[in-house]
């Protein structure tokens, strides 16, 4: 045990003496958090929309009011006929036009069915997508509330093929994603680089020729990064709470445990990478391309899974970040308990077992 402690102390010396490592460890998470928080949020606020109301009745006015008072939209244009629509978009005065069909309220009363046409400025596809989602959500919300008072359910058909974002809270979406990204990056990248560095320096030769066992070398390497990653989790949670006003709805203990699980998974990924490469550069490239990009692009962090081609969806399903983001969302944002995330937790556990077995198997007790 004593030699193990010595090993861990040595690792801490390496970390604290290398400014680059320190910067990646402690400054990058904060920068990323702030960056994603302020720049890449999925929130829409005061989006300019136009209304083309062919019906001008009580219901359409109610819906228009609801849109206007939601805080997401400002109605800057009231149109009188279809020909103006294109003009508005061309001038860029609105992002979306909401079109109510003629006799909207009458049709709703008579057939329990009416339709709204949403036309969005798709030159900014992401925003368009969001705006349409938000509008639909608000209209649906109206329908749900009205349905409580009428006996026959009524329907408002919304003509748009955009997807429905059930959370309706884009501002919070980035926290789980950023957490996944930072943990993957620090745990996997730094561990893989630190192991490969020993190979490059030739010190691995001495370590291997000593009585240290492979597992001891691996765990000794991983331990400091596990501790430091955990510190980062705390930092992120504090930042999201105090800077972005995002409270943790569910159990903090459960959330921390799940984070620890994900950290261990990332570390085992890092070790796995290091056993398969011999240069720091390669290790870094693999970590960046193989882990960081998927953590951003293929995890549901920025782009919803459902919109992706099938092949990419499959990749999402073998990407650990995907599961971690679901877990954090459920615990942190929805306040749900272990029962809602046990499947995802099991997947992560399975991945840990897989990568650790693979690493120990591949980690050589000799040089070749």
């Amino acid at each position: 045990m004593k030699h193990f402690k010595g090993f861990v102390i040595k690792e801490f010396y390496h970390i604290f003496r290398d400014r680059r490592t320190l910067a990646i460890l402690f400054i990058m998470p904060i920068i990323q958090m702030l960056l994603f928080g302020y720049v890449v949020t999925n929130e829409i606020k005061d989006a300019k929309i136009g209304i083309l109301d062919h019906s001008q009745d009580v219901v359409t006015r109610k819906i228009t009011d609801k849109l206007a008072s939601s805080g997401y939209f400002i109605i800057t244009k009231v149109l009188s006929n279809e020909t103006e629509i294109e003009d508005c978009f061309r001038k860029g005065t609105v992002k979306e036009v909401v079109v109510f069909e003629p006799d909207f309220a009458i049709k709703l009363e008579r057939d329990n069915k009416a339709s709204i046409h949403l036309i969005a400025d798709a030159s900014d596809a992401n925003t368009a997508n969001l705006i349409v989602n938000y509008t639909s959500a608000i209209v649906n919300d109206y329908v749900t509330k009205e349905n409580k008072t009428v006996t026959i359910p009524m329907q408002i058909g919304i003509e748009s093929r955009m997807l429905y974002n059930e959370e309706l809270k884009g501002v919070y979406m980035f926290v789980p994603g950023t957490m996944a990204l930072i943990l993957i990056l620090i745990s996997a990248l730094l561990t893989s680089v630190s192991i490969v560095r020993e190979k490059e320096l030739g010190t691995m030769e001495i370590l291997l020729a000593s009585p240290l066992r492979p597992l001891q070398i691996i765990i000794g390497k991983v331990m400091p990064y596990a501790v430091l990653s955990f510190v980062n989790v705390i930092t992120i949670l504090l930042l999201s709470n105090f800077v972005f006003g995002l409270p943790i709805q569910g159990s903090i203990l459960l959330l921390l445990l799940e984070c620890m699980l994900f950290i261990i998974l990332s570390l085992s990924l890092g070790i796995f990478i290091s056993t398969s490469t011999n240069s720091q550069q390669t290790a870094m490239m693999i970590s960046m391309m193989g882990l960081m990009l998927p953590a951003i692009m293929l995890s549901g962090f920025i782009y919803p899974l459902e919109n992706m081609p099938l092949i990419l969806q499959w990749i999402c399903h073998i990407n650990p970040s995907t599961y971690f983001i679901i877990i954090v969302k459920n615990i942190m944002l929805k306040g749900l308990g272990i029962m809602s995330v046990w499947k995802e937790t099991l997947v992560l556990l399975g991945m840990i077992v897989f990568f650790i077995t693979m690493s120990v198997r591949k980690f050589k007790i000799r040089l070749e």
């Binding site: 030699h3 402690k5 010595g6 102390i9 010396y13 320096l201 030739g202 001495i206 000593s210 000799r366």
Partner: protein, 304 residues
């Protein structure tokens, strides 16, 4: 008792053969030297003996343990200093030593007496980062680290390469005193002149052992007669000697040229006349004893 027994050992890589059926033994308490250029197979051999590589064929035991089966036991009992300086440059002298002590479950205090003579020379700099040490000091630190767990045997792979003559001399003095404390030392070097500092040497080239014996036995039993020849124009002398019909080999050796003749027939008068005929001035021809380098080159030529 023999501490190392190597029997018909071979090592092949995908493209190259590093060791070809070599056999030798090392006695307890001796300094055994492998003398040969880079690429001779020294590093492969050392790595097999310290259990870092598997042999392709043949067997080897170290301290009675098999290098394949009993690798854990060997790792506890030997000290190894790889050819490349392999310490943590960002750790201080003391931290490095401490680290290597702890991974062998010991401490500096416990075995200080073993490294005292060597370590005391660098102890004034113990707070300095290893990366900032001079070549000679790095080497002393590396040796201290290899010794700190009280190994029964030391494997030193080219410890003096790239090190200046003074540090090299000091290093060999350290090895002498370690030997006196009973440790068996196996060392490799590309410097032929270091052969005489070993108890026994193996001359190694292209994965073959050319010869194993005491260095003075190797030189005294060298069958060829050697002349040391010099003149005022050494470069011309060398090419002239090479074109002399009876010449077997002519090599520059410091300020003289070492010359051997075919069938060991030196024909000194003819040689003298030949050189004067070619207008060489201040010609000096002296018979000398062979040194290890003469032997090595002669064996190299025979092998190829």
């Amino acid at each position: 008792m023999q501490t190392v027994v190597v029997d018909n050992l071979s090592k092949c890589y995908k493209q190259a053969v590093a060791l070809k059926n070599i056999t030798f033994g090392v006695d307890a308490g001796e300094i055994f030297g492998f003398i040969g250029p880079d690429g001779a197979g020294k590093t492969s051999l050392f790595r097999i003996l310290v259990t870092l590589l598997l042999p392709t064929d043949g067997t080897a035991t170290v301290l009675g343990y098999d290098v394949v089966k009993d690798y854990k036991k060997i790792r506890n009992k030997v000290g190894y200093m790889p050819g490349k300086f392999s310490l943590y440059q960002d750790l201080t002298v003391e931290e490095n030593l401490n680290f290597f002590a702890t991974i062998f479950s010991t401490s500096i205090e416990e075995n200080y007496h073993l490294i005292k003579d060597i370590y005391s020379q660098i102890e004034p700099f113990k707070k300095r980062r290893a990366g900032a040490l001079s070549g000679g000091m790095k080497q002393k630190l590396a040796l201290s680290c290899a010794l700190i767990h009280k190994p029964e045997m030391l494997f030193l792979d080219e410890p003096t390469t790239g090190v200046d003559a003074v540090s090299r001399k000091e290093f060999w003095e350290m090895l002498k005193s370690l030997k006196n404390s009973g440790i068996t030392i196996i060392v490799s070097t590309p410097y032929m002149d270091e052969a005489s500092l070993c108890d026994r040497v193996a001359l190694i080239q292209n994965g073959n052992i050319l010869k194993i014996n005491k260095p003075d036995v190797i030189t005294t039993t060298f069958e060829k007669k050697i002349l040391a020849i010099r003149s005022s124009n050494m470069h011309k002398l060398l090419s002239d000697l090479n074109s002399f019909e009876a010449c077997d080999s002519a090599f520059l050796f410091g300020q003289t040229i070492h010359y051997t003749a075919k069938q060991n027939n030196l024909m000194m008068p003819e040689l003298q006349n030949y050189l004067t005929g070619l207008n060489h001035l201040q010609v000096e021809i002296n018979p000398i004893e062979a040194n290890i380098e003469d032997c090595f080159m002669s064996l190299m030529n025979q092998a190829s």
